[in-house]
């Protein structure tokens, strides 16, 4: 039973990184912009978080600074992809290379230092005393509650229950029609891409302030890409994305548990699990449920820059 509780606890903690990054990507992609720079943004957020808490031991401050860095870098990315309308795939790959490279450059000085302050777990009274899963579910840090409950609720409400959310989705589905209806296409794309980037950087800070918690080169280890894959798998929906992130967290935690319990599988092989699992989860549902495909389809104008005068 301890095994299962531990598995769930780690799964939730590990999935939180992916969930936050994926929620940011949901916002950007719903607006029609694919941001492949998540991996780089996470690296930047991760190093910002650790550098901040080494200077001032406040995890909140570190997390907030990472969000700001993400927002700023996201605005540069949005300027390139939404205002200049350069190729989104190239800009995203460039952002991933730059972010990973710059974070590694700065990170040399912080390598291996454990974060002097981290987000402490908060036990929710009564609920955390439930048998079996109580501790696993309700003794988590504050970001976990925020990422798994507050954010998906807010984003779901925004996307599907407000006029503004309808505008946002219209921009991603058919920018020309949205434009004709008077919706400010560029402004919406610009801000949601930037905010999405801030989420990605926040996910990086979560990694170094709540999950690992220290910096080492390659600490992001493809989680940004897994988050991008997860958004597709989740059909661009916030609640589904969070649940999918939890599933991926479970795969990751299986690897951890395996290492901790000395399963007769080599550590590098266990480390492959999240990547192989992601690929399997991208392929299997498409083959298994043909009918779901249309429901889970990407926004129609995803990845396409919008030119008002070109038809």
């Amino acid at each position: 039973m301890d095994l299962i509780a531990g598995l769930i606890q780690t799964a939730i903690l590990a999935g939180g990184v992916l969930a936050l990054a994926a929620l940011g990507e949901v916002l950007a992609e719903r607006a029609g912009v694919v941001n492949l720079g998540v991996e780089g943004l996470m690296a930047l957020g991760a190093i910002t978080g650790i550098a901040a808490v080494v200077a001032v031991p406040s995890p909140m401050l570190g997390f907030a600074l990472a969000l700001l860095v993400g927002l700023a870098v996201g605005m540069v990315f949005a300027t390139a992809t939404v205002i200049v309308r350069a190729n989104q795939i190239l800009c995203g790959l460039a952002l991933t290379l730059m972010g990973t490279g710059v974070a590694a450059m700065i990170g040399k000085a912080y390598s291996g230092i454990p974060a002097p302050a981290t987000f402490p777990p908060i036990a929710i009274p009564l609920l955390s005393e439930l048998p079996l899963v109580g501790r696993a579910l309700f003794t988590q840090n504050i970001l976990v509650y925020l990422i798994y409950l507050v954010l998906p609720f807010c984003i779901h409400h925004l996307l599907f229950r407000t006029r503004h959310g309808l505008d946002l989705r219209a921009v991603g589905e058919n920018p020309a029609a949205a434009d004709a209806a008077g919706i400010p296409v560029r402004r919406i794309r610009f801000w949601y891409v930037s905010v999405g980037a801030a989420f990605a950087a926040g996910a990086g800070a979560y990694l170094t302030l709540a999950f690992v918690p220290s910096w080492s080169e390659g600490v992001v280890a493809g989680r940004g890409w897994i988050a991008v894959a997860l958004v597709i798998f989740a059909g661009y929906r916030p609640w589904t994305a969070v649940m999918a992130a939890l599933l991926f967290g479970l795969i990751t935690s299986l690897g951890f548990v395996g290492q901790a319990r000395n399963w007769p599988i080599a550590a590098p092989v266990l480390s492959m699990l999240p990547y192989l699992g992601t690929i399997a989860l991208m392929i299997v549902p498409v083959l298994a449920w043909q009918k779901v495909r249309r429901l889970m389809a990407a926004p129609a104008a995803l990845g396409e820059p919008y030119f008002r005068d070109v038809r």
Binding site: A80, L93, T96, K108, I226, F307
Partner: protein, 348 residues
């Protein structure tokens, strides 16, 4: 008379190339400014770079050695782009090629003339197998090959790390993260520079010739630029997609084989050295031409070699990755901006 900025659907070749050159120079200038801010002596760094690249025989040899895998990974990404597929997984296919070739070298006994060709085949096959699942997933289930190929990079790097530190670890105990020296080498023709370099260049020219001057190449290019048009013209889009993606994987695998058997002479952790990712940059710079791939690989080899040599001057090797990203970013901007031109129009 009024002046107005107009977007044209396709830019001129000269304009596009000029915009890219400006982008590369700008990116390097930005990098230099950042260096200057961190208190580096630019003059000293610059002279060190020149000395360690063009200034010595060893520098030039290293450039040749680095250019070999970059030419091939660049070619791999470029041909996939021709059919409209993003092979971001050259890094993983590179690892798989190096892995397969090393397996043959270590476990197949025999004379050089037999084993070396087998290693070539194994390298290409390794890369091909590595891209097989992303290829089929894209062709039959429309799963984004960009993400699946990329995710396999991490698996490839872990695989190399696993065998080089575990089952295939050098039994002599000299190293903790590499196999024993491989018993077969790709022969050299100039110092350390092996025949992989001319092979890579010839292969690039040959592939470009096939793409540009054969019916098959024409169909691939049509399929890549407009899948719907291809379908109407009864061009088998799916078949071309699969064949070209497998070729792309094989070429990247070959790069890994040459690196293991020609340059490193062993399989070791970190052998892929971001060659796959920098190959994306090479392919983007190449704009689909063979000369572009070779020139792009030369440029990126100079940058990578500069980064490696500057490590002795306290510059972090990750700088290379950051600068590559910067160049890619400015290139993407330049590509779009070169579509605009200023026209004078008469007032109506």
């Amino acid at each position: 008379m009024a002046i107005r900025i107009q977007r044209v659907p396709s830019e001129s070749l000269a304009g596009g190339v000029a915009a890219r050159l400006v982008a590369i120079v700008l990116a390097l200038v930005v990098a230099a400014i950042v260096f200057a801010f961190t208190g580096a002596d630019l003059g000293k760094l610059g002279s060190h770079v020149l000395k360690s690249t063009f200034g010595s025989r060893f520098g030039l040899m290293d450039l040749g050695l680095i250019m070999t895998p970059l030419t091939l990974t660049g070619l791999a990404v470029m041909i996939a782009l021709k059919v409209g597929a993003w092979n971001i997984g050259a890094e993983g296919q590179f690892c798989a090629g190096a892995f397969a070739a090393t397996a043959v070298a270590l476990f197949v006994p025999g004379p050089n003339v037999v084993v070396l060709p087998l290693m070539f085949v194994a390298g290409a096959l390794g890369g091909m197998i590595w891209i097989l699942i992303p290829t089929l997933a894209r062709a039959y289930a429309d799963v984004s090959e960009l993400i699946t190929t990329l995710l396999l990079n991490f698996v490839g790097v872990l695989l190399i790390y696993y065998v080089a530190t575990g089952p295939w670890l050098d039994p002599s105990g000299v190293s903790f993260a590499s196999t024993a020296r491989l018993p077969h080498d790709v022969p050299s023709f100039w110092g350390d520079v092996h025949w992989g370099l001319p092979l890579a260049i010839l292969l690039t020219i040959a592939v470009a010739a096939v793409l540009n001057f054969t019916r098959w190449g024409y169909e691939v290019r049509i399929a890549g630029s407009n899948p719907n048009a291809a379908r109407y013209a009864a061009i088998p889009f799916r078949r071309h997609l699969i064949v070209v993606m497998l070729m792309s994987g094989a070429i990247a695998g070959l790069a890994g084989m040459l690196e293991a058997a020609g340059t490193a002479h062993r399989l070791q952790g970190g052998i892929s050295n971001n060659f796959g990712y920098i190959g994306i940059m090479v392919a983007v710079l190449a704009r689909g031409s063979a000369i572009g791939v070779i020139a792009g690989a030369a440029l990126m080899a100079i940058i990578l070699k500069s980064g490696i040599s500057l490590q002795t001057q306290g510059v972090n090797i990750s700088t290379v990755l950051a600068i590559t990203g910067l160049i890619l970013f400015f290139t993407a901007l330049a590509d779009e901006l070169s579509h605009y031109r200023i026209v004078r129009t008469k007032e109506a």
